[in-house]
Amino acid sequence: MLPTPSVTRRPNLRLNAVSAPTETVFHAVLLLFSLFCVVPFLFVVIISFTSEESIRQIGYSFVPQSWSTQAYAYVFRIGDALWRSYFNSFFITAVGTALSVLMTLLYAYPLFRRDFRQRHFFNFLSFFTMIFGGGLVPTYIICKNVLGLSENYAALIVPMLFSPFNVIIMRTFLQTSVPTELIEAATIDGSGEYHTLFRIVLPVVKPGVATVALLNALAYWNEWFLALLYIRQNTDLIPLQYLLMKMQRNADFIAKNSHLLGAEAANVAVNLPSQSLKMALVVLIVVPIACAYPFFQRFVVAGLTIGSVKG
């Protein structure tokens, strides 16, 4: 998203840029930090392909004694359930992100409009819930018993549709990138409020929308606790993250409590490729969302060029 400035600035590229040595320093700092960020993930990939014997012998290592795809074989053995949960995750993330971005934009826009008198009320309404909440059990009761969020897709989407944090972020984007004159001009042109928002404001604030969409998509993709709470019997609905989290939590529990559970559980524990499995699960979760990341980037970039043409 960032490089775009260079597109618009290209004509006077060197004129309006930091000096070459400074840029080299920037590169060095950013490169170092980026490596620092990505090496742990490579490490995870390596462990996921490490044989369990090697982990038992020498622990986690960048250079294992022997390689194995045992962990992936174990995960893929569950077959259909895995692909169904992949589908569920995509579905929940796509629908959830689309709806929540729309709701966030619709809520943040009036808050940004200084001529909307009730904006303080709506602002506080949202902000207050960032600080105070009813707690887990009461929320569970309301969702399940009052709103019927149980054993259905809605239970995995609705509880995360709205985030006051994202509203504030969106409002801040609107404040920093949409000039008041733009809206005034639109009003004078006789544009309706919804028309102004979607036809005039939205194109300008696309980087912000894409950022909020990214945050939402990540939140939906990583979510598993909702499935734990609300999907007990209709296991066809569980998302990937929960399926994998379940395996990991089972492996952890058995490792910690085998002395309580007798010979049978100890038996199960031995057959779990627990340590490489944990890492294989991480890889399976991270890869799709990491692949989606550049898509958001491009979206932001496109939004910016349109915005700058308009502005």
Partner: protein, 508 residues
């Protein structure tokens, strides 16, 4: 004479209730029961539940829905459902799960089954009660929201505790020692053996493979006090290692676990072993200890380990680890409150149909057909019987693996081919011979000292494991630890426990 009479009466009642239940099944209104199990690995229960429901309809005119709780999620989902009053009729419970039997009985979450006004056991489950060993029915009797009574059906499973030294015999014999050298020694005199093996195996070999908390109990002959904090025990009850049913060195009294001479002696010895390189430093870190221990076991990289024993474990361990493993008992097998409450099923007070739930539990724990069906699945699909009539699982078993011990009376099950024909005879002989500790049935109720307990567990979590594995110097850390415990209200906690124990013993 009275016993025989009582037995006869029970038998009569059993028979009458049973015929009553079958004959009246049709006159019962249809009911739907939901049960939540622990530790399941079930992806397809349709075939099993179809059969179960067909059977239950005839027997008690009920249908069953199962929530297959798994190891990883049971604690969270069960407590959430209980606190929210979800319409689930029955829950797995025990002394170690988060929906802890005693605590949730106090909170009014479980139906009292032997309520004098509505004695469900007498009415619907007398035959079940007659089949259970007395240690279990005694152990289930606790102080709950409706007075002293039974709040769950105990599962008939491995009911005794026996801590053993887990010996890598291959390595032991390599250095010219025999199992008798272990049997005749104790923790404090392992030094020479450990030294020889450490010297022979090299610097990166750690001969002692311990779970800190278990090691502490083994070295000091203390037991887990039921109701004490679960994560890190604070109380000690010292038992008599030679005669389990007799009083121990301190008598029937609760002690601050960390303030006794025994504890001091133990941590000093352990520190000595740690500094000599006998204990892997990773065992002192809560989150690495378990993985590390499993890895070392499976690769045979240890000489002496600690193990809470269950029948036949040495054979299984030898197979898994590809070495010859033997278990050398530290004390005889004993039954305490904790082990007698190892696996139970309770009826929730949010159940709309506690009577029918009781009928179901009675059936599950007395009817081999139903128990087999729910546990091992459908014959011909999930398992087959071999020529000797023993169970052999098919590939379909992978889709349907409930946790056997968490369901009920496992002795109803047909033995598997691996277990062998007379498995249950050996089982009953071993566990039947286990002796009771003098304070069996006592459960500490920490609700009056919950504030202190919360502070104390945090203090204990800071020091106990590091001291129990020798990773820190007791000369410096033990006094610091004791001071902090005392600041956090340890004396109040111990006094409360002793007051309750005195009252308990007086009532007996």
């Amino acid at each position: 004479m009275r016993k025989i009479l009582a037995l006869l009466l029970t038998l009569l009642l059993t028979a009458s209730v049973f015929t009553f239940a079958t004959a009246e099944a049709a006159s019962l209104t249809p009911a739907e029961l939901t049960i939540m199990f622990h530790g399941s690995n079930v992806t397809d229960d349709s075939a099993v539940l179809a059969k179960v429901n067909e059977y239950l309809k005839d027997k008690i005119n009920a249908s069953l829905k199962v929530i297959w709780g798994t190891w990883g999620d049971f604690d969270e989902t069960s407590t959430m459902s209980l606190n929210a009053g979800d319409p689930i009729d029955m829950y797995f419970t025990c002394s170690w799960s988060q929906d802890e039997y005693n605590a949730y009985a106090k909170k009014g979450m479980w139906v009292r089954l032997d309520d004098p006004d509505n004695n469900l056991i007498e009415k619907y489950a007398a035959d079940l009660w007659a089949t259970l060993p007395q240690v279990l029915t005694d152990g289930a009797k606790i102080q709950g929201s409706d007075g002293l009574g039974v709040y769950a059906v105990p599962g008939y499973k491995d009911i005794a505790t026996q801590n053993c030294w887990d010996i890598n015999v291959d390595l032991l014999t390599k250095y010219g020692y025999t199992l008798d050298d272990i049997r005749n020694a104790d923790y404090y005199s392992f030094g020479d053996i450990l030294k020889t093996v450490k010297a022979g195996e090299g610097d990166s070999f750690y001969p002692l493979l311990v779970e800190g908390m278990v090691l502490e109990r083994m070295a000091t002959n203390s037991i887990i006090v039921a109701g004490d904090s679960g994560s890190t025990n604070l109380l000690s009850y010292y038992m008599n290692p030679t005669d389990i049913s007799a009083e121990g060195p301190y008598g029937n009294v609760m002690l601050n676990k960390f303030a006794t001479d025994e504890y001091k002696k133990f941590v000093e010895k352990t520190r000595e072993y740690y500094l000599a390189g006998y204990i892997d430093p990773g065992l002192a870190v809560a989150d690495t200890a378990n993985d590390l221990r499993k890895n070392k076991q499976l690769t045979g990289q240890y000489l002496i380990g600690t193990q809470s024993y269950s029948l036949g474990y040495e054979l299984q361990a030898s197979q898994e680890r590809n070495i010859h493993v033997e278990m050398v008992p530290c004390t005889p097998a004993y039954v305490d409150t904790t082990s007698s409450q190892g696996a139970m099923v309770a009826i929730s007070t949010a159940s709309a149909n506690p009577e029918r739930a009781m009928m179901f539990l009675n059936l599950l724990n007395t009817d081999p057909y139903l128990m087999m069906l729910l546990n091992y699945g459908v014959e011909g699909i999930h398992y087959t019987l071999n020529a000797d009539g023993l169970v052999q699982f098919t590939d379909k078993r992978a889709d349907y693996q409930p946790w056997t011990n968490g369901m009920g009376n496992v002795t109803l099950l047909t033995p598997t081919a691996d277990q062998g024909k007379d498995f249950w005879d050996t089982f009953k002989a071993y566990y039947g011979a286990a002796k009771k500790i003098p304070i069996i049935g006592f459960t500490f109720d920490a609700s009056n000292v919950q504030v202190e307990q919360s502070a104390l567990v945090n203090v204990a979590a800071e020091y106990a494991l590091a001291l129990d594995t020798g990773a820190v110097d007791p000369a410096e850390k033990l006094p610091e630890f004791l001071q902090k415990l005392s600041d956090a209200g340890m004396q109040t906690y111990v006094d409360e426990a002793n007051a309750q124990l005195t009252a308990f013993l007086a009532a007996q």
